[in-house]
């Protein structure tokens, strides 16, 4: 029990789930994309769709995409900052299967053309979970440095990644591996105890079985 969850977080109101959590979803998505987003299609699900406007969920999500944290005083004016920074965004509604009531689906395009599709859920008290990336289901909170790796389902991929982490002296906290079906693409979600460097991500990418590698250090 963290006492700063009782007296805290420090956040822009009015709602820890609908405002602070939404900002964090946007921020994690930007970090996952790995570059400045220039285009964002944002689809709201459940309670986010129903009460999001009144809670500033829309402005908080855009603020997060601009790199703002949940206590950033610019959140209420994020639409204006988005125009200034050349982020084109649109909002819509979506009904997602088996999703948390406070969920958003984000489709992003970055300044060099990178793309990302992510579903994030705001699970209470400003905490969030990433539930899906590029169509693959997974689950992590982004509270720890996290590596997200998509790979062809061939032997040796996990050994390749864990060897590189060991060489860099990065300790693994949790390790999830999932795949949609046998022989299809697989995904690894690795929560670590220390920061993950760009250099490490580049090294991981050198194996042809690795399709993509992303990191979140928040």
């Amino acid at each position: 029990m963290n006492i700063f969850d009782l007296i805290g977080p420090i956040m822009v109101g009015p709602s820890s789930s609908h405002t602070a959590g939404a900002a964090r979803i946007g921020l994690v998505a930007r970090t996952m994309l790995g570059e400045k987003p220039v285009k964002a299609e944002i689809l709201l699900h459940g309670s986010f769709a129903a009460t999001g406007k009144g809670h500033g969920t829309d402005r908080a999500l855009v603020a997060g995409l601009l790199g703002m944290k949940p206590d950033d005083l610019r959140i209420p004016d994020s639409f204006r900052f988005a125009r200034e920074e050349g982020l084109e965004f649109s909002f819509g509604e979506v009904k997602l299967d088996e999703a948390h009531p406070n969920s958003a689906l984000l489709r992003l395009t970055g300044e060099t053309g990178k793309t990302l599709e992510m579903i994030g859920a705001s699970v209470g008290g400003g905490k969030i979970e990433v539930r899906e990336i590029n169509g693959l289901k997974l689950r992590f909170t982004a509270e720890y440095p996290t590596l997200i790796i998509q790979n062809h389902d061939n032997p040796g991929s996990i050994a390749w990644v864990s060897k590189l982490l060991a060489d860099e002296n990065v300790n693994i906290g949790t390790f999830q591996v999932t795949r949609s079906s046998r022989g299809k693409d697989a995904i690894m979600v690795i929560e670590c105890d220390s920061r993950i460097t760009d250099d490490l991500v580049e090294k991981i990418m050198q194996n042809p079985d690795i399709i993509s590698a992303g990191k979140v250090n928040l």
Partner: protein, 291 residues
């Protein structure tokens, strides 16, 4: 962590340690979250500053997204300053402060969730006016926040601090209990008095439903922060007078959880029942929660 699992445990372990309760909460929470005591103190200090800043950021001309919230704290302040009130200047300040911080939250200012954003007005509402009257230091108030967080942690672990899970009793009720304990501490009361104040504050809020109009943290949330603050004052005052809760705090907390689970979903933050289902709420928001 045993000490945060019951108020009894928190009190007994604090007594054993020989430390003041704020320090016991500080030390124990640091061990658990693996940060230094200096870091924790600095963080709590920043949190207190943010709380104070949320109060100062008030703009009487601002209104919330729905247009339902804004300007009421200023009306209360004017009434208080006129000197012609029922409750007098101190209580006038408590009411005005609760409205101020809660209106700021509804208008997207930066606030401190304590324990939630919807109940963020309760702790500052009792702490700031009391500190003013008693000329307390910033350090005193930071210590009071540790006391509040210790009891809040017990409530969060045994029951809930989420309106969606257990209704408003878990948000405003918990905030009120935390504020009561903080006040008893600041006024020099002992550990049993803190425990009694928590029990009484939560009992008085038992069963309170979460019924936000249009699903927004505005009506009735803003004014319920006033009720939570007033209840904290009364509960702390009773405890300091030596009045005991006939039912121990831990049993009251457990009961709150049971009552919360008995509340239908329409009364747990969905904006479908209670005040949210009143004819006027329907007239203002014919499409339900959507605005």
């Amino acid at each position: 962590m045993a000490i945060f699992e019951s108020t009894r445990g928190l009190i007994e372990e604090t007594e054993k340690s020989g430390l003041p309760i704020w320090e016991y909460v500080l030390k124990t929470s640091c061990e658990e979250s693996n940060i230094s005591e200096e870091q924790s103190w600095e963080m709590m200090g920043k949190t207190f500053d943010a709380m104070l800043e949320s109060y100062r950021s008030y703009d009487q001309f601002q209104v919330s997204a729905s247009g339902l919230v804004g300007g009421d704290a200023e009306k209360m302040r004017v009434a208080r300053n006129s000197g012609d009130t029922i409750c007098g200047s101190f209580i006038g300040s408590v009411i005005a402060t609760a409205l101020t911080v809660s209106e700021c939250n509804a208008c997207m200012h930066r606030i401190v969730a304590a324990p939630t954003a919807g109940s963020c007005g309760v702790l500052p509402a009792v702490l700031l006016p009391y500190a003013h009257v008693k000329d307390l230091s910033r350090d005193d108030l930071i210590k009071a926040l540790y006391v509040a967080s210790g009891f809040g942690a017990v409530i969060a672990q045994r029951a809930s601090i989420s309106g969606a899970e257990a209704g408003c009793q878990a948000e405003i009720g918990s905030a009120s209990a935390m504020a009561a304990a903080a006040l008893v501490y600041l006024h020099g009361g002992d550990l049993r008095m803190m425990e009694n104040s928590v029990a009484m504050a939560l009992k008085n809020m038992m069963g309170l439903v979460c019924d936000p109009v249009a699903g927004l943290v505005e009506v009735p949330c803003v004014k319920r922060n006033v009720a939570g603050a007033m209840n904290a004052l009364a509960s702390a005052e009773m405890a300091l007078a030596g009045i005991e809760s006939r039912i121990p705090a831990d049993e009251v907390i457990d009961t709150m959880k049971v009552v919360g689970s008995m509340l239908p979903p329409s009364l747990r933050e969905t904006g479908e029942g209670g005040i949210a289902a009143s004819p006027t709420a329907h007239r203002l928001f014919p499409d339900g929660p959507k605005i």
